[in-house]
């Protein structure tokens, strides 16, 4: 009994001290400047951990950088940026709890969730509590009226897909196209979008029903029948970064010689380790870190990220923007800091220089064509080609 009691006691002590440490950490950050809380609700554990982790870390890196250099000036006040994170474990029910937590913490701007079902589930909470959120999910219903609080944080597959297929059709002579996707909501929706785009371009679709369980480790059985159809382009719709190298390697080892592409962001190191030279020529969507287009700010961002977390993740390239947009829009209209209606007003006219790209690229809100209202971050549509351990820019497009 004594044993048990002391165990319980030490458990309680442990819990209390952890909380105390956390509390000290927070109050320390408050020391000088005012505090601006920006939220993150996404998945940072489990099989999809890479999506949320690359996302939240890019926010934390940027926030630490800003705070180190004196904070961000919005209106008459200077703020330190505090990233409040919530791991939703890729469960839409948890995502709602996360959004409630953000509302409780007084957060008005939240990045995430990372998947379709979570993004749909948090909508009622976000709209009821005056929160603008930036999901990395593509369903149009999230961004079209009457929805108004979600802003798409990246390029959607139905925007990049057609551009990639068109480029490959015109420059690489692609005629036959095949799709393969995991049997989950996000990849299947992206595949359906891809099929539509390929049809519109007049490509011959040789395979579109092939699916795999997301826990598949050996893709040879999935790809054997597809490779036999000899497509010119194999599209890995909505592929998870962990699965991409395995699919590529399996396809190449089966003797596939055509092109392989996807519309999601990937990591060069993962491709290199998982598929080696087989990954050469693999086409994916990137953000800003390829040497051809990255500005010095972007390069420093990568350095700081690497220093802070040990290793950079190329997926973060598409995810550096959301926080930058939030801060810059707030700078343009300080009244928006506690009032998302002001933020929405500013979105229609907002424009600022894009710090991550060379040249005079601009930040702005787009999406009129796809959603009928400006509910998307204008990020450059950078299409990359993997070559010997790094990405090279294939072409850069844009979305309106």
């Amino acid at each position: 009994m004594i044993n048990r009691r002391s165990t319980l006691k030490s458990m309680a002590l442990g819990a209390v001290s952890t909380l105390a440490i956390a509390a000290v950490g927070i109050s320390y950050a408050q020391a000088e400047n005012k505090e601006l809380k920006i939220g993150f609700v996404g998945v940072t554990s489990g099989p999809a951990a890479a999506w949320g982790t690359s996302n939240v870390r890019s926010m934390q890196t940027r926030a630490a950088w800003i705070n180190e250099t004196g904070g961000v000036k919005i209106g008459n006040d200077t703020y330190n940026v505090d990233i409040v994170t919530f791991d939703d474990q890729k469960d839409p029910k948890r995502a709602i709890a996360g959004m409630e937590k953000m509302a409780q913490e007084g957060v008005h701007y939240v990045v995430g969730p990372n998947v379709d079902d979570g993004a749909a589930a948090v909508r009622p909470v976000a709209e009821a509590n005056g929160i603008i959120y930036f999901p990395y999910a593509f369903p149009k219903a999230l961004y079209q009226k009457p929805a108004s609080n979600a802003v798409l944080g990246m390029i959607a597959n139905y925007q990049s897909g057609p551009a990639i297929y068109k480029y490959l059709k015109e420059n690489k002579g692609v005629k036959k196209i095949a799709f393969v996707a995991a049997n989950e909501s996000d990849p299947l929706s992206q595949r359906d979008g891809g099929v539509e785009a390929a049809k519109a371009l007049g490509l011959e679709i040789v395979a579109q029903n092939d699916t795999y369980q997301n826990d598949t480790r050996d893709f040879t059985p999935v790809l054997t029948p597809i490779v036999a159809l000899k497509p010119d382009l194999l599209v890995l719709s909505g592929v998870a970064p962990a699965n991409a190298p395995l699919l590529i390697r399996a396809a190449r080892e089966l003797g596939y010689e055509g092109l392989i592409s996807t519309e999601t962001a990937q990591d060069a190191k993962v491709l290199e380790e998982g598929a080696g030279e087989y990954a050469n020529g693999f086409i994916s969507v990137g953000g800003a870190s390829t040497p051809e287009i990255a500005s010095d700010t972007m390069k420093e961002f990568v350095t700081r990220y690497t220093k802070m977390f040990g290793e950079y993740n190329d997926e973060s390239n598409t995810k550096v923007y959301a926080l930058e947009y939030i801060l810059d829009t707030l700078k343009a209209n300080p009244a928006a800091i506690n009032d998302v209606a002001e933020f929405k007003k500013t979105m229609d006219t907002f424009s600022a220089p894009n710090p991550f790209l060379k040249g005079d690229a601009k930040l702005g809100y787009v999406g009129t064509t796809s959603f009928g209202q400006k509910r998307q971050l204008s990020v450059p549509m950078v299409v990359n080609e993997y070559k010997d351990g790094a990405f090279q820019t294939l072409f850069v497009g844009s979305v309106d």
């Binding site: 554990s45 890479a50 982790t53 395979a207 029903n209 699916t211 826990d215 059985p221 998982g274």
Partner: protein, 288 residues
């Protein structure tokens, strides 16, 4: 079609090896080890570190994976499962403990090795391509090794003193104890062996499919499926289950692909029907 069968056989060999460790632990202790997949992942990361990062020979890495996991397994049995089994009213309670250890491993692995998919250089380069069958050499090597390990395990269980004791234990715990088998000791050895198998197969497969910190749970579930098909707690059953599931996936993915996204729906539904007809799998011991 030759290709489809070859794929199925290779997949089956790797599945069977994954299922072996799980079924061993189940046979000895009636513990459904939810952490099996996490042990596999840990084994994979150890091989990744030793072979991929430190550049030591692959065999050394494999050994390191096996030994580490064996030690972890033995400790888990001694300090966690033995206590809980002794003190709980219903032996299913170990499922919560197993799930908790699975989460714990998940957390540790994520903190230690990060969120990214990892891979190591190929152990053998090149692709075998003849008689309508394409199979990379490294898969052939791994497949052959898997079969060697399976055979060695079966022989060990059949003929060694430890193996015989464990089989006695699996058949009837009380009777084995009365006959002078040291139940605690062999439970621990069995648990360590099961964990070691998970670690070794994780290390072996990291050369083909890589490893990442999130796949533990799904691997456990897949291993459960194989064990159920063949029959829980029977070594032969686990091997048969592995090969059957491998073949079903390989053939199913080819034959059913025209009908849309239903391949796995059909496989799982067939599994439910099969178990309804044969409630103890192919050759399992009846429960209850």
């Amino acid at each position: 079609m030759e290709q489809v069968i070859a794929n199925g056989l290779y997949l089956g060999a790797q599945y069977a090896l994954i299922a072996l460790g799980l079924t061993l632990i189940f046979a000895l202790m009636n513990v459904l080890n939810f952490a099996h997949g996490q042990m596999y992942v840990l084994g994979g990361f150890i091989t990744y570190t030793v072979y991929g990062q430190l550049g030591l020979p692959f065999v050394v890495a494999l050994l390191a994976s096996g030994v580490t996991l064996a030690v972890i397994g033995a400790l888990m049995e001694k300090f966690l499962f033995r206590t809980v089994i002794r003190r709980s009213h219903r032996e299913e309670s170990t499922m919560l403990l197993a799930a908790a250890t699975a989460f714990f491993f998940d957390a540790v692995i994520l903190l230690l090795f990060g969120e990214k998919q990892r891979g190591v250089p190929k152990i053998v380069k090149g692709v075998f391509n003849d008689a309508g069958i394409i199979m990379p050499y490294d898969r052939l090597v791994v497949g052959a090794l898997a079969i060697v390990f399976i055979a060695a395990f079966v022989l060990y269980m059949q003929y060694s003193r430890v193996g015989r004791a464990m089989r006695a234990l699996a058949q009837d715990r009380v009777a084995a104890q009365l006959m002078g088998v040291r139940v605690d000791r062999y439970s621990m050895i069995g648990f360590a062996m099961g964990a070691m198998l998970a670690g070794v197969v994780g290390g072996l497969l990291v050369t083909i499919t890589g490893v990442n910190s999130g796949i533990g749970g799904p691997i456990s579930i897949k291993a459960f499926l194989m064990v159920m098909i063949g029959g829980a707690g029977v070594v032969g059953g686990a091997i048969a289950g592995g090969f059957i599931l491998g073949m079903m996936e390989s053939v199913g993915l080819t034959v059913l692909r025209e009908y849309g996204d239903v391949t796995y729906l059909v496989i799982f539904a067939a599994l439910m029907v099969f178990l309804s007809v044969r409630p103890n799998g192919l050759m399992g011991k009846p429960w209850g």
